[in-house]
Amino acid sequence: MSVDLNSRPRFAAGCRMGENSNQRVLLMPERALRLNGPSLEIVSRCDGKHTVAQIVGELQLLYSRAEPRKVEQDILGYLALLQKERALDFEP
Protein backbone atom coordinates (compact mmCIF):
# COMPACT_ATOMS: atom_id res chain seq x y z
CA MET A 1 0.00 0.00 0.00
CA SER A 2 1.66 3.23 -1.11
CA VAL A 3 1.25 6.69 0.35
CA ASP A 4 -0.35 9.38 -1.85
CA LEU A 5 1.72 12.60 -1.85
CA ASN A 6 -1.42 14.73 -2.05
CA SER A 7 -3.19 13.09 0.90
CA ARG A 8 -3.28 14.67 4.37
CA PRO A 9 -2.32 12.30 7.18
CA ARG A 10 -3.96 12.67 10.58
CA PHE A 11 -4.05 10.54 13.71
CA ALA A 12 -6.44 7.60 13.51
CA ALA A 13 -9.18 7.32 16.13
CA GLY A 14 -7.68 6.45 19.50
CA CYS A 15 -4.22 7.86 18.69
CA ARG A 16 -2.72 11.01 20.16
CA MET A 17 0.53 12.57 21.30
CA GLY A 18 1.64 12.17 24.88
CA GLU A 19 4.63 12.94 27.02
CA ASN A 20 6.33 11.45 30.05
CA SER A 21 9.67 12.32 31.61
CA ASN A 22 10.39 14.69 28.70
CA GLN A 23 9.95 11.91 26.19
CA ARG A 24 7.32 12.58 23.49
CA VAL A 25 5.34 9.53 22.46
CA LEU A 26 2.60 8.60 20.04
CA LEU A 27 -0.04 6.84 22.12
CA MET A 28 -2.18 4.16 20.50
CA PRO A 29 -4.45 1.39 21.75
CA GLU A 30 -2.20 -0.95 23.77
CA ARG A 31 1.00 0.56 22.38
CA ALA A 32 3.15 3.65 22.39
CA LEU A 33 5.85 4.79 20.03
CA ARG A 34 8.80 6.92 21.18
CA LEU A 35 9.28 10.00 19.03
CA ASN A 36 12.72 11.52 18.61
CA GLY A 37 14.26 13.83 16.03
CA PRO A 38 12.88 13.12 12.56
CA SER A 39 10.03 10.87 13.75
CA LEU A 40 8.79 13.66 16.04
CA GLU A 41 9.08 16.18 13.19
CA ILE A 42 7.02 13.92 10.90
CA VAL A 43 4.34 12.91 13.40
CA SER A 44 3.77 16.44 14.71
CA ARG A 45 2.90 17.47 11.13
CA CYS A 46 0.27 14.73 10.77
CA ASP A 47 -2.50 17.17 11.61
CA GLY A 48 -4.90 16.65 8.71
CA LYS A 49 -3.72 19.96 7.21
CA HIS A 50 -0.24 19.22 5.86
CA THR A 51 -0.15 17.11 2.71
CA VAL A 52 2.49 14.39 2.53
CA ALA A 53 4.29 16.48 -0.11
CA GLN A 54 4.38 19.46 2.27
CA ILE A 55 5.77 17.32 5.10
CA VAL A 56 8.47 16.04 2.75
CA GLY A 57 9.32 19.59 1.64
CA GLU A 58 9.56 20.90 5.18
CA LEU A 59 11.76 18.06 6.36
CA GLN A 60 14.04 18.38 3.35
CA LEU A 61 14.64 21.96 4.47
CA LEU A 62 15.06 20.95 8.09
CA TYR A 63 17.54 18.19 7.22
CA SER A 64 19.20 20.05 4.36
CA ARG A 65 22.45 18.14 4.71
CA ALA A 66 20.72 14.85 3.90
CA GLU A 67 20.07 13.68 0.35
CA PRO A 68 16.52 15.02 -0.51
CA ARG A 69 15.52 11.83 -2.30
CA LYS A 70 16.55 9.78 0.74
CA VAL A 71 14.56 12.06 3.07
CA GLU A 72 11.45 11.53 0.92
CA GLN A 73 11.90 7.77 0.86
CA ASP A 74 12.36 7.61 4.61
CA ILE A 75 9.23 9.68 5.24
CA LEU A 76 7.09 7.64 2.86
CA GLY A 77 8.33 4.44 4.48
CA TYR A 78 7.62 5.72 7.97
CA LEU A 79 4.12 6.94 7.06
CA ALA A 80 3.31 3.59 5.43
CA LEU A 81 4.40 1.84 8.60
CA LEU A 82 2.21 4.09 10.76
CA GLN A 83 -0.69 3.43 8.41
CA LYS A 84 -0.19 -0.32 8.70
CA GLU A 85 -0.14 0.07 12.49
CA ARG A 86 -3.41 2.00 12.21
CA ALA A 87 -1.93 5.11 13.76
CA LEU A 88 -2.79 7.33 10.78
CA ASP A 89 -5.68 7.99 8.42
CA PHE A 90 -5.05 9.70 5.10
CA GLU A 91 -7.59 12.32 4.09
CA PRO A 92 -7.88 13.05 0.35
Binding site: G14, N20, L27, P29, E30, A32, R86
Partner: protein
Protein backbone atom coordinates in the same frame (compact mmCIF):
# COMPACT_ATOMS: atom_id res chain seq x y z
CA UNK B 1 21.54 -9.20 42.43
CA UNK B 2 18.19 -8.67 40.75
CA UNK B 3 18.47 -6.19 37.89
CA UNK B 4 17.36 -2.59 38.37
CA UNK B 5 13.82 -1.75 37.41
CA UNK B 6 13.09 0.39 34.39
CA UNK B 7 9.88 2.42 34.44
CA UNK B 8 6.55 0.62 34.34
CA UNK B 9 4.78 1.38 31.05
CA UNK B 10 1.27 0.24 31.78
CA UNK B 11 -0.96 0.14 34.81
CA UNK B 12 -3.65 -2.52 34.76
CA UNK B 13 -6.37 -1.40 37.17
CA UNK B 14 -8.70 -4.22 38.17
CA UNK B 15 -11.34 -1.86 39.50
CA UNK B 16 -13.68 -4.60 40.70
CA UNK B 17 -14.25 -8.33 40.50
CA UNK B 18 -17.99 -7.81 40.09
CA UNK B 19 -19.26 -8.69 36.62
CA UNK B 20 -22.63 -9.38 35.01
CA UNK B 21 -20.95 -12.10 32.91
CA UNK B 22 -19.81 -15.49 34.20
CA UNK B 23 -17.32 -16.49 31.50
CA UNK B 24 -15.92 -19.97 31.83
CA UNK B 25 -12.37 -18.73 31.10
CA UNK B 26 -12.38 -15.58 33.24
CA UNK B 27 -8.84 -14.43 34.08
CA UNK B 28 -9.85 -13.33 37.59
CA UNK B 29 -8.64 -15.56 40.45
CA UNK B 30 -10.87 -18.34 41.73
CA UNK B 31 -11.18 -16.42 44.98
CA UNK B 32 -12.99 -13.24 44.04
CA UNK B 33 -12.98 -10.10 46.15
CA UNK B 34 -16.20 -8.56 47.42
CA UNK B 35 -17.41 -5.03 46.83
CA UNK B 36 -16.69 -4.02 50.43
CA UNK B 37 -12.94 -4.57 49.87
CA UNK B 38 -12.71 -2.36 46.77
CA UNK B 39 -10.50 0.73 46.75
CA UNK B 40 -12.25 4.10 46.97
CA UNK B 41 -12.45 6.65 44.14
CA UNK B 42 -9.86 8.75 45.92
CA UNK B 43 -7.36 5.93 46.33
CA UNK B 44 -7.66 4.89 42.68
CA UNK B 45 -7.11 8.48 41.64
CA UNK B 46 -3.95 8.65 43.74
CA UNK B 47 -2.79 5.38 42.17
CA UNK B 48 -3.26 6.86 38.66
CA UNK B 49 -1.23 9.91 39.65
CA UNK B 50 1.56 7.80 41.12
CA UNK B 51 1.59 5.59 38.04
CA UNK B 52 2.03 8.59 35.73
CA UNK B 53 4.78 9.93 38.01
CA UNK B 54 6.54 6.55 37.89
CA UNK B 55 6.61 6.79 34.09
CA UNK B 56 3.54 4.79 33.06
CA UNK B 57 1.90 5.86 29.80
CA UNK B 58 -1.22 3.76 29.79
CA UNK B 59 -3.99 2.82 32.19
CA UNK B 60 -6.12 -0.20 31.34
CA UNK B 61 -9.31 -0.03 33.36
CA UNK B 62 -10.58 -3.54 33.70
CA UNK B 63 -12.19 -5.90 36.18
CA UNK B 64 -14.43 -7.86 36.51
CA UNK B 65 -16.51 -5.35 34.69
CA UNK B 66 -15.19 -1.80 35.17
CA UNK B 67 -18.61 -0.37 34.30
CA UNK B 68 -19.93 -1.99 37.49
CA UNK B 69 -18.17 0.82 39.39
CA UNK B 70 -20.66 3.69 39.85
CA UNK B 71 -17.70 6.13 39.80
CA UNK B 72 -16.31 4.91 36.46
CA UNK B 73 -16.74 8.28 34.71
CA UNK B 74 -14.83 10.04 37.46
CA UNK B 75 -12.08 7.40 37.38
CA UNK B 76 -11.67 7.82 33.60
CA UNK B 77 -11.53 11.60 34.01
CA UNK B 78 -8.91 11.40 36.77
CA UNK B 79 -6.71 8.90 34.92
CA UNK B 80 -6.79 11.02 31.79
CA UNK B 81 -6.27 14.15 33.86
CA UNK B 82 -2.83 12.98 35.00
CA UNK B 83 -1.84 12.31 31.40
CA UNK B 84 -2.46 8.57 31.09
CA UNK B 85 -3.86 7.00 27.93
CA UNK B 86 -7.10 5.46 29.15
CA UNK B 87 -8.50 2.18 27.87
CA UNK B 88 -11.71 0.60 29.07
CA UNK B 89 -11.58 -3.20 28.86
CA UNK B 90 -15.25 -4.06 28.99
CA UNK B 91 -18.09 -6.41 28.18
CA UNK B 92 -20.24 -3.37 27.39
CA UNK B 93 -22.61 -4.13 30.28
CA UNK B 94 -24.10 -2.20 32.00
CA UNK B 95 -23.94 0.66 29.49
CA UNK B 96 -26.42 3.01 27.86
CA UNK B 97 -25.94 5.83 25.38
CA UNK B 98 -25.89 8.56 28.04
CA UNK B 99 -23.15 6.79 30.03
CA UNK B 100 -21.06 6.26 26.90
CA UNK B 101 -21.38 9.95 26.12
CA UNK B 102 -20.12 10.82 29.62
CA UNK B 103 -17.18 8.40 29.34
CA UNK B 104 -16.03 9.88 26.02
CA UNK B 105 -16.47 13.37 27.40
CA UNK B 106 -14.33 12.41 30.43
CA UNK B 107 -11.46 11.61 28.06
CA UNK B 108 -11.72 7.90 27.36
CA UNK B 109 -9.15 7.11 24.64
CA UNK B 110 -9.92 3.53 23.77
CA UNK B 111 -12.86 1.20 24.14
CA UNK B 112 -12.06 -2.52 24.05
CA UNK B 113 -15.24 -4.55 23.71
CA UNK B 114 -15.13 -8.28 24.36
CA UNK B 115 -17.19 -10.80 22.43
CA UNK B 116 -17.77 -14.37 23.57
CA UNK B 117 -18.75 -15.55 20.11
CA UNK B 118 -20.37 -14.41 16.87
CA UNK B 119 -23.60 -16.33 17.41
CA UNK B 120 -25.94 -15.33 20.17
CA UNK B 121 -26.48 -18.84 21.54
CA UNK B 122 -22.73 -19.53 21.78
CA UNK B 123 -21.94 -16.16 23.34
CA UNK B 124 -24.71 -16.47 25.89
CA UNK B 125 -23.68 -19.98 26.84
CA UNK B 126 -20.01 -19.05 27.31
CA UNK B 127 -20.81 -15.93 29.34
CA UNK B 128 -23.60 -17.61 31.30
CA UNK B 129 -25.81 -14.61 30.61
CA UNK B 130 -27.71 -12.87 27.82
CA UNK B 131 -25.36 -10.19 26.62
CA UNK B 132 -24.70 -10.61 22.90
CA UNK B 133 -27.50 -8.44 21.48
CA UNK B 134 -26.62 -5.64 23.86
CA UNK B 135 -22.97 -5.74 22.71
CA UNK B 136 -24.11 -5.31 19.13
CA UNK B 137 -26.09 -2.23 20.16
CA UNK B 138 -23.03 -0.82 21.94
CA UNK B 139 -21.06 -1.21 18.69
CA UNK B 140 -23.61 0.92 16.87
CA UNK B 141 -23.44 3.67 19.52
CA UNK B 142 -19.64 3.79 19.43
CA UNK B 143 -19.61 4.57 15.72
CA UNK B 144 -20.73 8.11 16.57
CA UNK B 145 -17.50 8.87 18.40
CA UNK B 146 -13.94 9.24 17.25
CA UNK B 147 -12.26 7.09 19.89
CA UNK B 148 -10.13 3.98 19.60
CA UNK B 149 -12.09 0.76 19.21
CA UNK B 150 -10.82 -2.77 19.59
CA UNK B 151 -13.01 -5.83 19.27
CA UNK B 152 -11.72 -8.69 21.35
CA UNK B 153 -12.88 -12.18 20.50
CA UNK B 154 -11.79 -14.69 23.07
CA UNK B 155 -11.49 -17.90 21.08
CA UNK B 156 -11.45 -21.56 22.00
CA UNK B 157 -12.72 -24.96 20.94
CA UNK B 158 -16.35 -23.97 21.19
CA UNK B 159 -16.39 -20.78 19.08
CA UNK B 160 -13.30 -20.97 16.86
CA UNK B 161 -15.45 -22.29 14.00
CA UNK B 162 -17.46 -19.04 14.01
CA UNK B 163 -14.48 -17.12 12.63
CA UNK B 164 -16.19 -16.14 9.38
CA UNK B 165 -19.09 -14.59 11.27
CA UNK B 166 -16.69 -12.84 13.65
CA UNK B 167 -14.92 -11.32 10.64
CA UNK B 168 -18.29 -10.19 9.26
CA UNK B 169 -18.89 -8.35 12.53
CA UNK B 170 -15.44 -6.71 12.17
CA UNK B 171 -16.24 -5.71 8.60
CA UNK B 172 -19.52 -4.20 9.72
CA UNK B 173 -18.14 -2.18 12.63
CA UNK B 174 -14.69 -1.16 11.27
CA UNK B 175 -12.62 -1.14 14.50
CA UNK B 176 -8.99 0.04 14.42
CA UNK B 177 -7.99 -3.30 15.84
CA UNK B 178 -9.42 -6.77 16.26
CA UNK B 179 -7.90 -9.32 18.60
CA UNK B 180 -8.48 -13.01 18.29
CA UNK B 181 -7.13 -13.96 21.66
CA UNK B 182 -6.96 -17.65 22.38
CA UNK B 183 -7.90 -18.64 25.89
CA UNK B 184 -4.82 -19.31 28.02
CA UNK B 185 -5.08 -21.80 30.82
CA UNK B 186 -5.10 -20.21 34.25
CA UNK B 187 -7.80 -19.85 36.88
CA UNK B 188 -11.28 -20.52 35.53
CA UNK B 189 -9.94 -21.51 32.12
CA UNK B 190 -7.61 -24.04 33.73
CA UNK B 191 -10.63 -25.56 35.47
CA UNK B 192 -12.50 -25.73 32.13
CA UNK B 193 -9.51 -26.64 29.98
CA UNK B 194 -10.79 -29.91 28.60
CA UNK B 195 -13.80 -28.17 27.10
CA UNK B 196 -11.91 -25.14 25.81
CA UNK B 197 -8.66 -26.31 24.21
CA UNK B 198 -9.10 -26.29 20.40
CA UNK B 199 -7.93 -29.10 18.16
CA UNK B 200 -4.90 -28.70 15.93
CA UNK B 201 -7.11 -28.87 12.87
CA UNK B 202 -9.31 -26.05 14.16
CA UNK B 203 -6.27 -23.95 14.91
CA UNK B 204 -4.61 -24.52 11.52
CA UNK B 205 -7.79 -23.43 9.79
CA UNK B 206 -8.00 -20.36 12.04
CA UNK B 207 -4.41 -19.29 11.33
CA UNK B 208 -4.89 -19.73 7.59
CA UNK B 209 -8.11 -17.68 7.58
CA UNK B 210 -6.63 -14.89 9.73
CA UNK B 211 -3.61 -14.59 7.43
CA UNK B 212 -6.03 -13.82 4.62
CA UNK B 213 -8.05 -11.48 6.83
CA UNK B 214 -4.91 -9.52 7.63
CA UNK B 215 -4.44 -8.81 3.91
CA UNK B 216 -8.12 -8.00 3.37
CA UNK B 217 -8.23 -5.57 6.29
CA UNK B 218 -4.82 -3.93 5.78
CA UNK B 219 -4.98 -0.17 6.39
CA UNK B 220 -8.45 -0.51 7.97
CA UNK B 221 -8.22 -2.90 10.89
CA UNK B 222 -5.11 -4.30 12.52
CA UNK B 223 -5.52 -8.04 13.12
CA UNK B 224 -3.91 -9.54 16.19
CA UNK B 225 -3.91 -13.26 16.83
CA UNK B 226 -2.81 -14.85 20.08
CA UNK B 227 -1.93 -18.52 19.82
CA UNK B 228 -2.86 -20.83 22.71
CA UNK B 229 0.41 -21.32 24.61
CA UNK B 230 0.02 -25.09 24.54
CA UNK B 231 0.37 -25.12 20.74
CA UNK B 232 3.38 -22.80 20.67
CA UNK B 233 6.96 -23.90 20.07
CA UNK B 234 8.38 -21.25 22.37
CA UNK B 235 6.72 -19.49 25.29
CA UNK B 236 5.30 -15.98 25.12
CA UNK B 237 7.25 -13.14 26.78
CA UNK B 238 4.66 -13.11 29.54
CA UNK B 239 3.66 -9.54 30.56
CA UNK B 240 6.71 -8.38 28.59
CA UNK B 241 8.93 -9.87 31.28
CA UNK B 242 8.28 -10.02 35.02
CA UNK B 243 8.43 -6.56 36.60
CA UNK B 244 9.64 -4.99 33.38
CA UNK B 245 6.64 -3.19 31.90
CA UNK B 246 3.42 -3.85 33.70
CA UNK B 247 1.89 -3.43 37.09
CA UNK B 248 -1.52 -4.79 38.05
CA UNK B 249 -3.54 -3.49 40.97
CA UNK B 250 -6.28 -5.75 42.31
CA UNK B 251 -9.68 -4.40 43.46
CA UNK B 252 -8.42 -4.23 47.06
CA UNK B 253 -5.11 -2.57 46.14
CA UNK B 254 -2.58 -5.37 46.05
CA UNK B 255 0.15 -4.79 43.46
CA UNK B 256 0.88 -7.83 41.29
CA UNK B 257 3.39 -8.35 38.46
CA UNK B 258 0.67 -10.19 36.48
CA UNK B 259 -2.97 -11.12 36.94
CA UNK B 260 -2.29 -14.75 37.85
CA UNK B 261 0.64 -14.16 40.24
CA UNK B 262 -1.37 -15.33 43.26
CA UNK B 263 -0.97 -18.96 42.14
CA UNK B 264 2.70 -18.74 43.11
CA UNK B 265 3.00 -19.73 46.76
CA UNK B 266 5.09 -17.62 49.12
CA UNK B 267 4.95 -14.40 47.10
CA UNK B 268 4.21 -11.41 49.31
CA UNK B 269 2.27 -8.59 47.67
CA UNK B 270 2.41 -4.99 48.83
CA UNK B 271 -0.76 -2.88 48.97
CA UNK B 272 -1.18 0.63 47.54
CA UNK B 273 -2.82 1.67 50.81
CA UNK B 274 0.53 1.33 52.56
CA UNK B 275 3.24 2.19 50.03
CA UNK B 276 3.60 4.32 46.93
CA UNK B 277 3.54 2.72 43.50
CA UNK B 278 7.14 3.75 42.85
CA UNK B 279 8.32 2.09 46.09
CA UNK B 280 6.39 -1.06 45.28
CA UNK B 281 7.69 -1.18 41.72
CA UNK B 282 11.30 -0.79 42.78
CA UNK B 283 11.43 -2.71 46.04
CA UNK B 284 8.51 -5.11 46.43
CA UNK B 285 9.74 -8.65 46.96
CA UNK B 286 7.13 -9.95 44.52
CA UNK B 287 8.33 -7.69 41.71
CA UNK B 288 12.00 -8.48 42.39
CA UNK B 289 11.48 -12.23 42.54
CA UNK B 290 11.73 -12.98 38.79
CA UNK B 291 13.18 -9.72 37.51
CA UNK B 292 16.29 -10.15 35.40
CA UNK B 293 17.89 -13.55 34.87
CA UNK B 294 19.38 -14.64 38.20
CA UNK B 295 16.41 -16.84 39.07
CA UNK B 296 16.61 -18.86 35.84
CA UNK B 297 17.33 -22.57 35.62
CA UNK B 298 18.54 -24.57 32.64
CA UNK B 299 17.64 -24.67 29.80
CA UNK B 300 16.67 -20.96 30.14
CA UNK B 301 19.86 -19.89 31.86
CA UNK B 302 22.08 -20.48 28.82
CA UNK B 303 19.39 -20.12 26.15
CA UNK B 304 19.75 -17.47 23.43
CA UNK B 305 16.03 -16.73 23.62
CA UNK B 306 16.05 -15.73 27.29
CA UNK B 307 16.23 -12.01 26.40
CA UNK B 308 13.20 -12.39 24.13
CA UNK B 309 10.81 -14.53 26.14
CA UNK B 310 12.28 -14.13 29.66
CA UNK B 311 11.71 -17.82 30.31
CA UNK B 312 7.97 -17.56 29.56
CA UNK B 313 5.25 -17.48 32.15
CA UNK B 314 6.05 -18.04 35.84
CA UNK B 315 2.46 -18.87 36.71
CA UNK B 316 2.26 -21.50 33.99
CA UNK B 317 5.51 -23.02 35.27
CA UNK B 318 3.91 -23.20 38.72
CA UNK B 319 0.66 -24.68 37.47
CA UNK B 320 2.18 -27.31 35.20
CA UNK B 321 5.68 -28.04 36.52
CA UNK B 322 4.98 -27.29 40.18
CA UNK B 323 7.99 -24.95 40.23
CA UNK B 324 7.61 -21.23 39.56
CA UNK B 325 11.29 -20.91 38.52
CA UNK B 326 11.17 -23.72 35.96
CA UNK B 327 11.23 -23.09 32.22
CA UNK B 328 7.67 -22.49 31.03
CA UNK B 329 6.53 -26.06 30.21
CA UNK B 330 5.03 -24.96 26.87
CA UNK B 331 8.58 -24.40 25.59
CA UNK B 332 9.73 -27.18 23.27
CA UNK B 333 13.06 -27.12 25.14
CA UNK B 334 11.47 -27.51 28.59
CA UNK B 335 11.94 -30.80 30.48
CA UNK B 336 8.20 -30.73 31.32
CA UNK B 337 7.03 -30.31 27.72
CA UNK B 338 5.86 -33.95 27.49
CA UNK B 339 3.04 -33.03 29.90
CA UNK B 340 1.73 -30.51 27.38
CA UNK B 341 2.14 -32.96 24.53
CA UNK B 342 0.06 -35.51 26.44
CA UNK B 343 -2.73 -32.95 26.93
CA UNK B 344 -2.63 -32.08 23.22
CA UNK B 345 -2.63 -35.75 22.23
CA UNK B 346 -5.79 -36.30 24.24
CA UNK B 347 -7.43 -33.21 22.75
CA UNK B 348 -6.61 -34.42 19.25
CA UNK B 349 -7.70 -38.03 19.65
CA UNK B 350 -9.74 -38.94 16.54
CA UNK B 351 -12.85 -39.88 18.55
CA UNK B 352 -12.85 -36.69 20.59
CA UNK B 353 -11.80 -34.36 17.80
CA UNK B 354 -14.44 -35.82 15.46
CA UNK B 355 -14.68 -35.44 11.68
CA UNK B 356 -13.93 -32.01 10.27
CA UNK B 357 -17.55 -31.32 9.40
CA UNK B 358 -19.05 -31.96 12.83
CA UNK B 359 -18.46 -29.44 15.60
CA UNK B 360 -16.20 -31.28 18.03
CA UNK B 361 -18.07 -29.82 20.94
CA UNK B 362 -21.51 -31.13 20.03
CA UNK B 363 -21.18 -33.80 22.71
CA UNK B 364 -20.67 -31.18 25.35
CA UNK B 365 -23.47 -30.66 27.84
CA UNK B 366 -23.96 -27.24 29.37
CA UNK B 367 -23.56 -28.73 32.83
CA UNK B 368 -19.92 -29.52 32.03
CA UNK B 369 -18.97 -25.87 32.47
CA UNK B 370 -17.70 -24.41 35.69
CA UNK B 371 -19.09 -20.85 35.64
CA UNK B 372 -17.38 -17.95 37.34
CA UNK B 373 -19.76 -16.51 39.96
CA UNK B 374 -20.37 -12.87 40.84
CA UNK B 375 -18.77 -11.91 44.19
CA UNK B 376 -20.90 -10.42 46.96
Amino acid sequence: MPSTAQNPLALVAELTHRCPLHCVYCSNPLELQSRSNELSTGTWSRVFKEAAEAGALQADLTGGEPLARPDIVELVRNARGVGLYVSLITSGLPLDEAKLDLLVDAGLDHFQLSFQGAREETANEISGTKSHQHKRRVLEWIKRYRIGLTLNFVIHRRNIDELEEMLALVDHSGPGCVEFASVQYYGWAFANRENLLPTRQQLDHCVERLNRAEEELRGKTRVVFVLPDYYAKYPKPCVGGWGRKLMLITPSGDALPCHAARVIPGLKFENVNHRSLREIWEHSEAFQKFRGEDWMQEPCKSCERRTQDFGGCRCQAMLLAGDSAATDPVCSLAPERPKIDAILAKTNEPLRAGPATAPPTSLLAKSDWLYRPNPA
